[in-house]
């Protein structure tokens, strides 16, 4: 009995691969889906994006009892109505790919709410298993559930489990296997629409009968039309004859409250299940979560807690990340570059330069990014996993609101102070597509440590005792520009819309290190793989531009471009050398100092600072600092933006936008400062 033919004899097409069963894992957010997925697939998993979408797609393989299973992790969603890309992806996958079994992961401690998704899944044409997770939490809260009763009431197999301890996994797999083989009777009892809407549902079904495109089930389509589902409405408008559509449309308009009736029908159904299966309801004790939230979500103490956590994050970054970064730079990148030079000493010098400065330099920049990236991914992963992320979003929501953003945008943006790359990648925690896009377009305006290093070098030289004041002023200016840009972009790109603020605050729980570790590993790898190619390519190109034709920066193509740009630079009081310094900061922000060192023949010593002070006015210096703090992000950040938006259009838009903003900032500040000095 180790292998079997899948039960779906009704579908015409044969199973995709012999003895490989397709299983989809569905569940609402925070029910432990990642934990179960990682438990089943281990390292035998692959992370990518859903075709044409920027939503993460995870799939993996496992074998059980001689059969190979392909497990696809569907995006975590509360329902299956087309409010977001995630919901569309989840249901399209089930309807179009017809998995052999769908596992609906449900939180036993929050049975009513988390069964809502199962109430939608049970109406779809794929066999369902309900995995009742977090039985331990439910027990702690005094809730007792009888899985057999739930199973009988729903007509689908129900398996109790505790995914964090691996309990019930064996039973789940056995049930999946038997269901896929048709060894258990499967007679689902899906919810009905609320009684007062039964008639209109039938009317719609009658109107669309015969016009529903395969493989969509007719009743499901009728239900989704009543719910006002965007995608299904569009689909039926296209497939129905115009007069028939008019009729459907008229019925729908007369029942525009049907959405609530459909949802109520599902909760009534859930209510019946829960009343039958829960033998002891929740005791009224005050939970740990409630106690912690008295502080974490308090309007004042919540901010104190957040500030404390963020302080800890930065302390960690500087005490671990920066030294490791320096070590990598010296002992890996430096040593490797020297080795290449030594090995090629007999060959043409441009080849050694290309490999040592261009290729290893570019790859090295990426390598030295990794420690900080890993720390930030880990921090985000821990905060998300223990449940704190939602609280941080909660206390910051009012403030972020002013910029047209969502509370969840705060943390990624804040991480930008360390490095813009994790800030951009960190926007994944934002569910609203619009808020996410806006956040990643704005992230480069957060002054990262590399930009601050440039300020730290130039400000004391030019402004002496006022350097601290100038530095703070620059940071505040950048943040003010960020806030203003947020408000403006939100208004013009998104018509001032803001996603409604309504989100779940999950229970706090201990971090699952396996889940966090895997996420850190996969995200770092994805960054190196996807953004890495771009970073390397651009590094080599900019290196070539700054080396050829003469081998010296001051005669290079880049210098020629700088000279060509000088008339524009003059508006900001910048000469061609400062323009070139800005251009090379595209590789890495701290490069601008090194470039100035080369151009002034002074290296990065104190001598350079003195030379610069003797050459440029304070107004020029200030304009340069303003422009560089607002300037287009480094290539790594651009790579990350490209990776996360999945669109060159938005990436180029952002570069153009920041270019305009930074140059305008430079011009304004130069002229204002010239009045002062």
């Amino acid at each position: 009995m180790s292998t079997c033919h899948p039960a779906r004899t009704t579908t015409a097409e044969p199973p995709t691969a012999q003895h490989t069963l397709l299983v989809a894992l569905a569940g609402q957010p925070n029910v432990g889906k990642s934990t179960l997925f990682n438990l089943l697939t281990g390292l035998n998993q692959h992370v990518g994006n859903w075709p044409g979408k920027t939503v993460e797609r995870r799939e993996g393989f496992f074998t059980f009892d001689g059969t190979t299973y392909r497990l696809v992790d569907l995006p975590g969603t509360y329902s299956l109505t087309a409010n977001s890309a995630e919901e569309v992806i989840a249901r399209e996958f089930i309807i179009r790919e017809r998995p052999d079994v769908v596992i609906a992961l449900v939180d036993a401690a929050m049975l009513e709410r988390s069964l809502y998704l199962a109430a939608e899944l049970i109406a779809l044409p794929a066999p369902l298993v309900v995995a009742l997770n977090m039985m331990d939490v439910a027990e702690q809260e005094g809730v007792r559930i009888e899985p057999e009763v739930l199973e009988a009431a729903m007509g689908v197999p129900v398996v109790p489990m505790v995914a964090t301890r691996g309990e019930g996994v064996q039973a789940l797999l056995e049930t999946v296997h038997r269901l896929a083989c048709g060894e258990v009777p499967y007679v689902p009892k899906p919810p009905q629409i609320r009684a007062d809407h039964r008639e209109v549902l039938e009317e719609i079904e009658g109107l669309i009968a015969g016009y529903v495109p395969a493989p969509y089930p007719q009743e499901w389509v009728a239900l989704k039309l009543l719910e006002g589902d965007r995608e299904v409405t569009r689909m039926m408008q296209a497939s129905l004859p115009p007069d028939r559509w008019e009729e459907v449309h008229r019925v729908l308009r007369a029942h525009d409250d049907a959405l609530v009736a459909v949802a109520s029908g599902r909760y009534e159904w859930i209510g019946r299940m829960v009343r039958a299966a829960v033998t002891r309801p929740k005791a009224g004790q005050i939970s740990l979560t409630e106690r912690l939230d008295r502080w974490a979500t308090h309007p004042f103490w919540g901010l104190v807690v957040l500030a404390g956590i963020l302080g800890l994050v930065f302390w960690l970054t500087y005490t671990i990340g920066t030294p490791v970064q320096d070590l990598l730079d010296t002992y890996v990148v430096g040593v490797l570059a020297d080795a290449v030079r030594a090995a090629l000493s007999g060959g043409p010098s441009w080849l050694a330069d290309l490999l040592a400065d261009g290729v290893i330099g570019g790859a090295g920049a990426m390598l030295t990014f990794l420690p900080i990236l890993v720390i930030f991914f880990a921090v985000m992963g821990i905060l998300e996993d223990v449940g704190y992320l939602a609280r941080a979003a909660f206390v910051m929501d009012g403030f972020m609101h002013l910029m047209g953003l969502h509370g969840k945008s705060f943390l990624p943006l804040f991480l930008g102070f360390g490095c813009n790359v994790p800030a951009v990648l960190g926007t994944r925690v934002i569910e609203s597509r619009r808020a996410r896009l806006l956040t990643l377009l704005l992230a480069p305006l957060v002054p990262c440590t590399a930009r601050m290093a440039v300020i730290a070098f130039l400000a004391p030289a030019f402004f002496g005792s006022a350097a601290t004041l100038v530095s703070w002023g620059l940071v505040l200016l950048a943040l003010a520009v960020l806030a203003l840009s947020g408000a403006v972009l939100n208004r013009f790109l998104f018509h001032g819309q803001r996603a409604a603020f309504i989100m779940e605050l999950p229970l706090y729980h201990l971090p699952n290190w396996r889940t966090i570790g895997l996420a850190v590993w996969q995200r770092s790898l994805a960054f190196v793989r996807k953004a890495g190619t771009l970073i390397l390519a651009v590094s080599v190109v900019v290196w070539a531009l700054s080396t050829f034709p003469g081998g010296r920066v001051e005669e290079s193509f880049l210098a020629q471009v700088g000279r060509w740009l000088e008339p524009a630079g003059r508006w900001m009081g910048l000469d061609w050398r400062l323009m070139v310094a800005l251009l090379t900061s595209f590789i890495a922000k701290e490069n601008s100092i090194a470039t100035l060192g080369v151009l002034f023949g002074a290296g990065e010593s104190a001598g350079l600072a003195e030379t610069l002070v003797a050459t440029f006015s304070p107004a020029t210096a200030l304009a340069f600092l303003v422009t560089q703090i607002l300037f287009i992000p480094c290539v790594a950040t651009v790579g990350a933006i490209r990776q996360e938006t999945g669109s060159w259009r938005w990436t180029l838009f952002d570069i153009g936008f920041l270019l305009v903003v930074s140059l305008a900032g430079g011009v304004v500040v130069y002229h204002l400062a010239s009045l002062l000095w």
């Binding site: 409010n83 709410r113 006002g228 949802a263 779940e504």
Partner: protein, 95 residues
């Protein structure tokens, strides 16, 4: 990105109905039974998926009179903005 139709109300806020109040006026510790929801389809879809449907019991856990609220609905803790909470109409429940 389509704009949410602003007019998809399920009856306006009950003016004459006895004791029907927006959720955001409930004090911490008070309970209410959801009577009706107002809002565009997008918002209604998210509210219902998170457990707010007519008949559902809601307990206010945090409400400082300004800023977002935290409520418990169907055993879940849900944070929602003041404006969003103002679109959920409840009948105060002594229980």
């Amino acid at each position: 990105m389509r704009r949410e139709p602003k007019g998809t109300h399920l009856d306006g806020p009950a003016t004459g109905g006895s004791g029907v109040i927006p959720l955001n006026v409930l004090q911490p510790g008070e309970h209410g039974i959801v009577v009706q929801l107002a809002g565009g389809r997008g918002l209604l879809g998210r509210m219902t998926a998170l457990g707010f449907t007519p008949g559902a019991e809601v307990t206010v856990l945090q409400n400082f009179g300004r800023g977002p609220l935290i409520v418990r609905v169907r055993d879940a803790r849900v944070a929602l903005g003041r404006g969003e909470a103002g679109r959920i109409f409840v009948r105060r429940n002594a229980g």
